[in-house]
């Protein structure tokens, strides 16, 4: 009862402070929604049309790449249509039963080549992003966690890389390889993305350093490593995840550009959209469809990943939380 009187006193003094605020009982739940950030983001993604369009495009593309062998009706490397039909040197095989898009310059089945080309595109998109993300996260975490000299050195390197236009840098790196292959494309495209991730993460980490919860963790004696990896890094990841989704689209386009320029895989048996586009430009006047199909595929897939990234950005935006 002594306590009661004391409480009254405090209340009287504090309540006299003005606003007779509505009592929010302690036991009462805050307006809670979902559990983790992921559950929370999913609730918002579920109702986003942008997310569904992006997700469906990406899903169809993944299925296409995974089951390409089953979907493609013919061997993409065989010159089927040239031998079967009588055509002059400058004519291409038109669409016909079994060959929905007709033949390409050498008489290979265009449709099968498109289907199998999705694999290379997926490969580049996923691996280039993964490598770029890994490299960028290492550099960004180093710079953001240590600050000082480490930060300065890392960020100057990043600045130098960012000062060169991305595609130009990718071309230069791809040109370094004596035998161009799918992997030289992946590495070239990935290296271009490293500074983007590094800079983004570093900025987020720096912002995290000044937050109350990091200060509170330090005040509780939490060591440096857990502060960086449990308190700073997870709170810095949202924009990085969004960026990764967008980078998949950028990588696909960059990789197609490299292949278009002949810096990609020289293996004629594994079709690649950029490479197909490069070949098609020889006949772009008379057979624009030949360029249209691979170009269209690149655009649609890149759009799918971009939409996915956009909707993720919306869903993970801390301003939209709760």
């Amino acid at each position: 009862m002594v306590m009661d009187r004391k409480k009254e006193r405090i209340d009287a003094l504090a309540a006299s402070g003005g606003s007779a605020s509505t009592a929010l009982l302690d036991s009462e739940d805050a307006k809670s929604g979902g559990g983790s950030i992921i559950a929370d983001a999913w609730r918002r993604l579920r109702v986003s049309p942008v997310f569904w369009v992006g997700a469906i495009i990406v899903l169809l593309f993944l299925l296409l790449a995974i089951f390409a062998d089953l979907i493609a009706p013919h061997d993409p490397g065989q010159l089927l249509l040239r031998s079967q039909t009588r055509l002059s040197r400058n004519q291409l095989a038109p669409p016909q039963p079994g060959f929905p898009l007709g033949g390409d310059l050498l008489g290979r089945d265009e449709f099968s080549r498109l289907v199998l080309g999705s694999r290379q595109t997926l490969l580049v998109g996923v691996f280039a992003t993964a490598i770029g993300l890994a490299g960028g996260m290492i550099l960004g975490t180093l710079a953001g966690a240590f600050g000082g000299v480490v930060d300065t050195v890392v960020m100057r390197v990043v600045d130098v890389m960012l000062s060169i236009p991305g595609l130009l840098l990718a071309i230069s790196i791809a040109a370094l390889f004596t035998t161009p292959s799918q992997w030289s494309v992946i590495i070239a495209v990935a290296v271009v993305q490293i500074p983007v991730f590094a800079r983004l993460l570093r900025g987020q980490m720096l912002a995290q350093r000044g937050t109350d919860h990091v200060l509170a963790a330090r005040a509780l004696g939490v060591r440096r490593a857990p502060i960086v990896f449990r308190h700073m890094l997870p709170n810095s990841m949202s924009p990085v995840i969004v960026q990764a989704t967008v980078v998949v689209a950028v990588s696909i386009i960059d990789a197609a550009a490299l292949s278009f320029l002949g810096l990609g895989s020289q293996d004629v048996a594994t079709p690649e959209w950029g490479q197909m586009l490069g070949e098609a430009q020889q006949k772009i006047d008379s057979y624009p469809a030949l360029a249209f199909w691979p170009a269209g595929c690149i655009v649609v897939v890149a759009l799918g990943f971009t939409l996915l990234g956009e909707s993720l950005r919306e869903a993970l935006d801390p301003k939209n939380r709760r």
């Binding site: 002594v2 006193r9 405090i10 009287a12 003094l13 402070g17 805050a30 200060l215 005040a219 939490v222």
Partner: protein, 351 residues
């Protein structure tokens, strides 16, 4: 010997192209085990900087910290950082103003508590989780098993602050610094949190520094009150004394600026005029002089010393022309008479 003895603590912020700014300018106070010492003052008076300096949480760059922070015989300002990190959370803990931003938003509450238990008490796995559940229960969070797996944004404001208190008290620290722990909370929750802190502190014999600008909090909780202004302590006494005989014009101004339910309708509030930015340096004057209605000639020419006040016992004051306590304290004294604060000796009856 007090548990914590802060002597002549000073914090200077470097400013580009300007003289360093004295955020804290020679502050001394003692905190004994089981006692609550209040640091009171408006924003910019140096009370939070004092607490961060004690915890050594101020950034190294751009700050010069001087003086002695004697914690149980060790000068905290002179031990290696690794040792200081071992002490934080184990011997000294801190509670912050805004519990939502002080909790990690992507890590469940339980994990944040077990993190501290693992760090300082070497607990592992299920033992740590059980202890975390007990801690949540102790601070009055209902259904602690469920709350362990929830995130900060799923808790109410009061529960968040309770969770912060659970974390701070997880390792039974000997000193707890509470930096405006109730400012971000509703009035009713404020009272709950304060009585919780009061109970826990007295139960465990923890020493506590309560930083606040709310004289209501001080009245209900603190054993000793230090009123700070522009980085220096301007008045110090126990809580009865300071309410009965406030003598520094600043303390008096703070008391007069609280709206009161029993004041006649239409009566105006009496805020302290001006703002902290009007200060003049302590070195050759009283920093409060430009805002002081009692200022006399000396106030702008000499720096006042911290010495026993003309009225009251164990009452220190830094003022040339103190307010007459009978004349001014009337309102406060009247309130003291109508609702006396229970003397601290009755605290055993709590719970």
């Amino acid at each position: 010997m007090a548990l914590l003895s802060v002597q002549d603590l000073s914090v200077k912020f470097k400013r580009r192209g300007l003289a360093p700014f004295d955020a804290v300018d020679g502050v001394s106070f003692d905190v004994e085990a089981g006692k609550i010492v209040g640091l009171v003052g408006e924003s910019g008076s140096g009370k939070s900087v004092t607490s961060l300096a004690i915890m050594r949480l101020l950034p190294k760059r751009g700050n010069t910290i001087g003086g002695v922070v004697d914690f149980d015989g060790t000068d905290l300002l002179r031990i290696p950082m690794s040792q200081m990190r071992d002490k934080r959370g184990a011997d000294l803990a801190m509670i912050f103003q805004d519990p939502l931003s002080s909790l990690n938003p992507v890590v469940p509450i339980g994990l944040q508590i077990t993190e501290v238990l693992k760090r300082h008490r070497g607990m592992r796995g299920a033992a740590a989780e059980n202890e975390a559940r007990d801690l949540l229960d102790q601070v009055g969070i209902p259904d602690p098993t469920r709350r362990l797996h929830e995130y900060a944004h799923q808790l109410s404001g009061g529960m968040r602050q309770r969770a912060m208190i659970a974390m701070a008290l997880a390792c039974r620290p000997r000193l707890l610094i509470a930096d405006e722990p109730t400012t971000a909370l509703d009035v009713t929750i404020q009272a709950q949190i304060l009585s919780l802190l009061d109970t826990l502190v007295h139960e465990h014999g923890t020493a506590m520094i309560m930083i606040t600008h709310d004289l209501g909090v001080v009245a209900g909780l603190c054993d000793e009150v230090n009123v700070m202004y522009a980085g220096r302590t301007v008045e110090r006494a126990d809580r009865y004394e300071i309410y009965a005989h406030p003598q520094h014009p600043y303390t008096n101004g703070l008391l007069a600026s609280i709206p009161r339910l029993d004041s006649p309708p239409g009566e105006r509030l009496h805020p302290v005029p001006g703002s902290v930015s009007d200060n003049i340096p302590w070195a050759s004057a009283c920093a409060f002089a430009p805002r002081c209605s009692n200022a006399i000639g000396d106030c702008r020419q000499q720096s006042p010393e911290f010495k026993p006040a003309p009225v009251g016992r164990d009452h220190l004051l830094r003022c040339f022309n103190p307010v007459e306590p009978e004349a001014v304290g009337a309102a406060a004294v009247q309130q003291m008479a109508t609702s006396p604060i229970p003397p601290p000796s009755n605290k055993e009856q709590l719970s």
